[in-house]
């Protein structure tokens, strides 16, 4: 870091350089194929949830814009993919694109409302929008199957080659690749001029117009992008599990993803991924021990992390390594 010849441009370039720990992380995501073949379905669900948490991180972690109804877009993606596969075709990648477009359209439409508000008002508005979406899905029983769940999804093999198997090899491989590609896109975004403007909005809402920024346009854009990615995550879940349920659009899912982001650490891209891993593994383990009351332990975990590590697990680790480097 103490490079005397460092130019300002070189410095900014350096901030987005790939670190060894990142490469190690992504290599480790391949381990379940070899070490835990019995847990591939879980791994696939984790990858999907991680993608969902990543989408929330773009608006919450980078833009400082809170949402308590993010599952609405996850659900829109899930149902769009399900409906598309049943009535049009089962091609998974085209299904993803259709779901992304549907979630993007819904996200863009609601961004005109959400970009006007902040803080408590925004929490209530996004909560309301989430509940609204949930009830629409419930009411449209003829289309979504309501509380009975969506029936009749048939997904073709990925790229015409990889059939969705019982063990989840294809499911995990497919989810992981989509997660990785969108992670690369998100990583690009947060290191872009737009990413810098988003951080500006998070750091000082008042100053942004005073430097000539159009806050609202930035927020609408970030929100639409985040909703699109959430929709893709939802579509992945519908395609890999060959079902779509009300649970995918529920308030519970909106709350869970927020918990994951807080656990992992918001505003650092990997926070959502690590949070999703912790949350999903904890759920898997705790629900094995106590099927009825596993949320108790999630509650304990959440309170502990928020009290002891205000910036999440990754924030705590970053602090530790910084201290270790100094000494």
């Amino acid at each position: 870091m103490s490079d005397a010849a460092l130019t300002p441009q070189g410095y900014l370039q350096g901030l987005s350089r790939w670190r060894a720990i990142e490469i190690a992380f992504w290599l480790a995501t391949l381990l379940p194929f070899f070490l835990l073949p019995d847990y591939l379905s879980l791994a696939s669900q984790i990858a999907i949830t991680a993608l969902f948490a990543l989408s929330l991180d773009i608006i919450l972690g980078y833009g400082g814009i809170v949402s308590l109804g993010h599952a609405a877009f996850f659900g829109i993606g899930a149902y769009s993919a399900a409906i598309f596969s049943k009535f049009v075709m089962g091609e998974p990648l085209i299904g993803l694109v259709v779901a992304a477009a549907a979630a993007a359209a819904a996200g863009y439409a609601t961004s005109f409302i959400t970009a006007r508000f902040r803080h408590f008002t925004l929490i209530m508005i996004t909560l309301g929008l989430g509940l609204l979406a949930q009830e629409v899905a419930n009411r449209a029983h003829w289309l979504t199957g309501g509380s009975d769940g969506f029936q009749g999804i048939d997904i073709w093999p990925v790229a015409g080659l990889f059939r969705f198997d019982l063990y989840g090899y294809t499911a995990y491989g497919y989810s992981l690749i989509v997660l990785f590609v969108l992670f690369l896109a998100a990583r690009r975004l947060v290191n872009s001029p737009f990413g810098l403007s988003l951080r500006g909005i998070r750091e000082n809402w008042v100053r942004m117009p005073a430097i000539g920024a159009d806050r609202r346009a930035h927020i609408q854009k970030a929100y639409t992008i985040a909703c699109t990615i959430a929709g893709i995550a939802g579509a992945l879940l519908a395609q890999t599990t060959q079902t779509a349920a009300l649970e995918s659009i529920s308030f519970q899912r909106s709350a869970d993803v927020l918990v994951m982001l807080v656990l992992g650490g918001a505003g650092r891209l990997y926070g959502g991924l690590v949070g999703a891993i912790i949350f999903m593994v904890a759920r898997d383990q705790f629900s094995g021990i106590e099927p009825q009351y596993w949320y108790f332990w999630i509650g304990v975990l959440l309170v502990m992390v928020v009290m002891l590590l205000p910036n999440g697990v990754l924030g705590g680790l970053a602090k530790l390594t910084a201290r270790w480097r100094k000494s």
Binding site: P8, L12, S16, R188, P193, L196, A210, I211, H218
Partner: protein, 264 residues
């Protein structure tokens, strides 16, 4: 824009107006904070805005920059009526401000913050598919502004860790990154020890001659030293205006402004 001092001096001679307020009115409930304010700043002018606490100085800046909507009156930037424009649009047309209380980006470092402001001005802040480091011109311009304000050595430190005086300079750097034609400085040296405030005003005095300046300041030594013209605001109205010599010789100003200060 014309460059160099001579055209700017010409402009002053011809009274070309950079910023003007016409009949500005604003009330908060029954409290009238702006009463029929008429001011006009010639291009390249260095104006000081003075007045006792609560005279409505910051309110006037808020009105002119669009952070408050006036109840009546008009604001002109050059020939253009900007009364209905949003704050961001006014900045894009060349009207920038700084804040009395630091309004910075605590979690960004000065290089990032000023690059952000330059990007916004250059219209590339919406680009989300390319790395921020691709735009060398933005970064170089940001670093250039920071160096001129002697912040080059601090540009990689997080803003929240900077000494207070440096943060005051960063306030000005952010405003300069918008390439303003008119800059309104709300107590640029507020909270800075007197011996350091000179340093900040040296920076202000060293700004381009094309730039039209209006600054709020309480220290009369600083005002008389750096202003070419002084506007005295009392109770939301322009009390008087004139050259430093005229204002310092005006017994009413002494009474209203300096007299009040004794109590404050």
């Amino acid at each position: 824009m014309t460059a160099g001092a001579l055209p700017a001096q010409d402009a002053i001679a011809h009274r070309a107006i950079a910023l003007a307020a016409k009949g500005l009115q604003k009330s908060f409930g029954s409290l009238r904070v702006a009463r029929d304010i008429e001011i006009s700043l010639p291009i390249g002018a260095r104006y000081a805005l003075i007045g006792p606490n609560g005279a409505g100085k910051t309110t006037l800046i808020n009105l002119m920059t669009g952070m408050l909507a006036p109840d009546g009156g008009q604001i002109f930037l050059g020939e253009q009526d900007i009364t209905r424009l949003r704050p961001g649009e006014r900045v894009q047309r060349g009207l920038a401000r700084t804040f009395q209380i630091n309004t910075l980006f605590p979690g960004l470092n000065p290089l990032e913050a000023v690059t952000l402001a330059v990007n916004e001005r250059r219209g590339i802040s919406g680009e989300f598919w390319r790395n921020v480091a691709v735009h060398k011109e933005s970064i170089d311009e940001a670093y250039d502004i920071l160096s001129k304000l002697k912040l080059g050595g601090d540009c990689y430190r997080q803003t929240r860790e900077l000494p207070y005086g440096r943060q005051r300079l960063l306030e000005i750097a952010l405003a300069l990154a918008t390439k303003p034609k008119v800059l309104l400085l709300d107590e640029p040296a507020a909270g800075v020890p007197q011996e350091e405030s000179g340093e900040i005003f040296e920076v202000v005095a060293g700004l381009s001659d094309d730039l039209t300046l209006l600054f709020i300041e309480h220290d009369m030594h600083v005002v008389f030293r750096f202003a070419s013209h002084i506007i005295v605001l009392v109770g939301g109205a322009v009390f008087t205006a004139g050259s430093p010599a005229e204002i310092s010789a005006d017994p009413r100003v002494r009474e209203v402004y300096l007299g009040k200060r004794k109590h404050g």
